[in-house]
């Protein structure tokens, strides 16, 4: 942190919030609110005279509320820059000045009660999102009696209690009697791997954190008896297993089982727990002087705001989703945005540093190149035929299109376009063309597939990244699927236009399949949600026209699901066999009539 603060090429803005980011790769423009600290940070020497005289005492957030701080304070000892700031929500008041003692005491006259928030504008080529995470708070669900029993603490509170810089100066004690406990129990997976708390994922860091804590405890106080209650110990990193073995060798007992009931002995304030040891299948009871809840990590509370600022997507766990889990693990789906640390997923310090280094290297590569090469699959918009309805802007996952229907203006930033083609599929006026996936190109493919024996063909629209790759996996694994199914590749299933489906039916296709990525795998943030909406509308339309909706199917198939692709295609072939020649002819007739009606309406 000190190195960052002193680096000549790094402008560190602490106590600041990003309010708005506009632009795109190479041309980001950010508005940052630099909050008033009311203390001149360049002049402040952190002598501490102001904090000594300040009469306001509030709980210290850094010490988990176990000690206090003043209204004028340094957030934590290693803070950079090392200067004080005034917490105005707790200060007695500066307008009018109710106390003013800190300003009187400050010899260097660093305190300015009239300081105001500043808005700073920053131009940037790349954005790295390193917004961190929050720690699970066991209070709302009252996990393991945390709100009722004082001697039940979280792992964060334990850290402060045993730290030399903590509220007890490193003299470890339990909260009720401030005496050193003789027995300490650790409970794992609190707020992790549980649907009850809404966090079904593994928090990644808690097992090793507990192992480290037990070693610290045994190192400082070898006589303390420590037991760890766990579901699994996940010691998968370099040297982690060794650390786990050292903890066991130091006398820490590991019991596989999560306590079901915790009660408190009213006289001793000790905690009694009942647990089923799943290795011995026995119900066991233990008594502890103190219990430590190993709390998991959670997405930061302000993630929705950051998500909105940068048009990012999230995984079901609530963390930011990378562009590709294996091939682009530090890239956001938006070009020029990278992730570092727990904003993307829970990870330890080593993994965070690795990802941050990778993000910095990715940023450096792009910045030093000086230009960005885009794939030639972006959309083009014909402003002469555009009616400025704004549907394209509504469906674009990257906010590449901005439409003002009142002023009849459209702004399209091609550098933001990733080529999903959803805008093209949604445009009712044919004003949007996606390069290499134009309507005419697709119609030609449909025509070619249905030239001979159309009644035996199934047209399958498959997205490039998942379904088409799933078909490849199927073929690569020598899994047979009916040879009369014809695949038409699009970049995203969101590109599949209603017109294409109806065209295929009009040309005599008995079955049409629209296939794309599973929701979580969508390579274009959420473009495939629009695919589903479109298909659902089409089912209604087909039914209205007397055409069986079962003839249009929607399938999500990932690149790894070759077997699933095979099964889907085999089932669909059985369904195709049920479509009669009369049904196909009726469909062709109805859809031709509907098309003529639509043409007449246009005229």
């Amino acid at each position: 942190m000190m190195d960052v603060g002193r680096h000549p090429n790094i402008n560190l803005l602490t106590y600041s919030e990003v309010e708005k980011i506009s632009g795109y790769v190479g041309n980001f423009h950010a508005l940052i609110r630099r909050k008033a600290k009311y203390v001149n940070e360049t002049e402040c020497t952190a002598c501490g005279d102001c904090t000594e005289i300040c009469p306001v005492i509030v709980p210290d957030e850094f010490q988990q509320g176990m000690s206090s701080r003043k209204a004028i304070y340094i957030p934590f000892p290693q803070a950079v820059p090392s200067s004080y700031l005034i917490d105005m929500t707790n200060c007695l008041g500066t307008n009018p000045i109710a106390c003013g003692k800190c300003a009187e005491k400050c010899e260097k006259k660093c305190i300015d009660y009239d300081a105001k928030d500043e808005i700073i504008e920053v131009d940037a080529g790349i954005v790295i999102v390193a917004t961190g995470m929050d720690v699970f708070d066991p209070t709302p669900v009252d996990e393991y009696g945390y709100t009722n029993f004082e001697n039940v603490v979280t792992s964060m509170e334990f850290e402060r209690l045993i730290s030399a810089g903590g509220p007890s100066d490193g003299h470890f004690f339990r909260p009720t009697d401030r005496k050193r406990p003789k027995t300490v129990g650790f409970i794992q997976c609190v707020g992790s791997r549980t649907e009850k708390c809404g966090n079904p994922y593994c928090s990644n860091i808690c097992c090793m954190n507990t192992i480290k804590d037990t070693l610290l405890l045994k190192d400082h106080y070898p006589d303390i008896e420590a037991k760890v209650f766990y579901i699994d110990i996940r010691a998968f990193g370099k040297g982690f297993e060794d650390l786990f073995n050292r903890s066991k060798a130091a006398g820490v007992q590991y019991i596989r089982g999560v306590p079901g009931e915790i009660t408190e002995n009213q006289s001793t304030r000790n905690l009694n727990i009942t647990v089923e040891d799943t290795t011995s299948n026995r119900l066991e009871k233990y008594e502890f002087d103190m219990l430590v809840l190993s709390v998991g990590v959670m997405p930061r509370w302000d993630m929705p705001q950051v998500q909105q600022l940068l048009t990012l997507s999230k995984t079901p766990d609530g963390f930011f989703m990378e562009a590709h889990p294996k091939l682009k693990p530090v890239d956001a789906p938006t070009t020029g945005v990278y992730f570092a640390g727990c904003a993307e997923a829970p990870k330890d310090v080593k993994d965070s540093v690795t990802q941050a280094s990778a993000a910095a290297a990715r940023a450096e590569t792009m910045l030093s190149a000086g230009e960005v090469t885009l794939e030639a699959i972006t959309s083009t918009i014909d402003l002469e035929t555009c009616r400025f309805c704004g549907m394209c802007a509504k469906v674009c996952p990257y906010n590449a299109i901005k439409v003002d229907p009142k002023k009849k203006t459209l702004e399209y930033i091609e550098a933001l376009c990733k080529g999903c083609g959803t805008c093209g599929a949604e445009c009712r006026f044919g004003s949007i063309t996606m390069k290499h996936f134009t309507d005419n190109q697709i119609y030609s493919q449909i025509d070619a597939h249905l030239t001979v024996n159309p009644q035996e063909r199934t047209i399958v629209f498959a997205c490039n990244w998942c379904s088409y790759a799933g078909a490849d996996t199927c073929g690569g694994a020598r899994l047979q699927y009916p040879p009369n199914q014809r695949l038409i590749r699009t970049m995203c299933s969101g590109r599949v236009d209603e017109k294409w489906v109806l065209y295929a039916f009009r040309k005599g296709a008995p079955m049409v399949v629209v296939s794309g990525c599973h929701y979580v795998d969508c390579h274009y943030i959420d473009a495939n949600r629009w695919t589903q909406k479109r298909v659902e509308k089409l089912w209604d339309k087909l039914e209205k026209w007397g055409i069986r909706p079962e003839r249009l199917l929607l399938e999500w198939i990932s690149a790894a699901e070759g077997k699933r692709f095979q099964k889907a295609m085999q089932d669909i072939e059985e369904l195709r066999k049920t479509v009669t020649q009369e049904e196909i002819e009726h469909t062709m007739k109805v859809l031709t009539e509907e098309e003529e009606k639509a043409k007449a309406k246009k005229k």
């Binding site: 929701y519 589903q532 249009l552 999500w556 089932d571």
Partner: protein, 52 residues
């Protein structure tokens, strides 16, 4: 979340799935694995009968 009847267009199985108006979600048929899951719409006469 409210649950409604949905029909699988591949195998015809009818199952209950969570449903919230305006919220898109991935649904998969437990029988055949298809994602062609269509909301079973109540006919107006059925609705009127329910309402008495």
């Amino acid at each position: 979340m409210e649950e409604k009847d949905f029909k699988c267009l591949r195998c015809g199985a009818i199952n209950k799935y969570p449903f919230e108006k305006g919220v898109m979600m991935e649904r998969q048929c437990p029988k055949c694995g298809s994602n062609s899951i269509r909301l079973v719409k109540e006919k107006k006469t059925d609705q009127a009968k329910k309402e008495g």
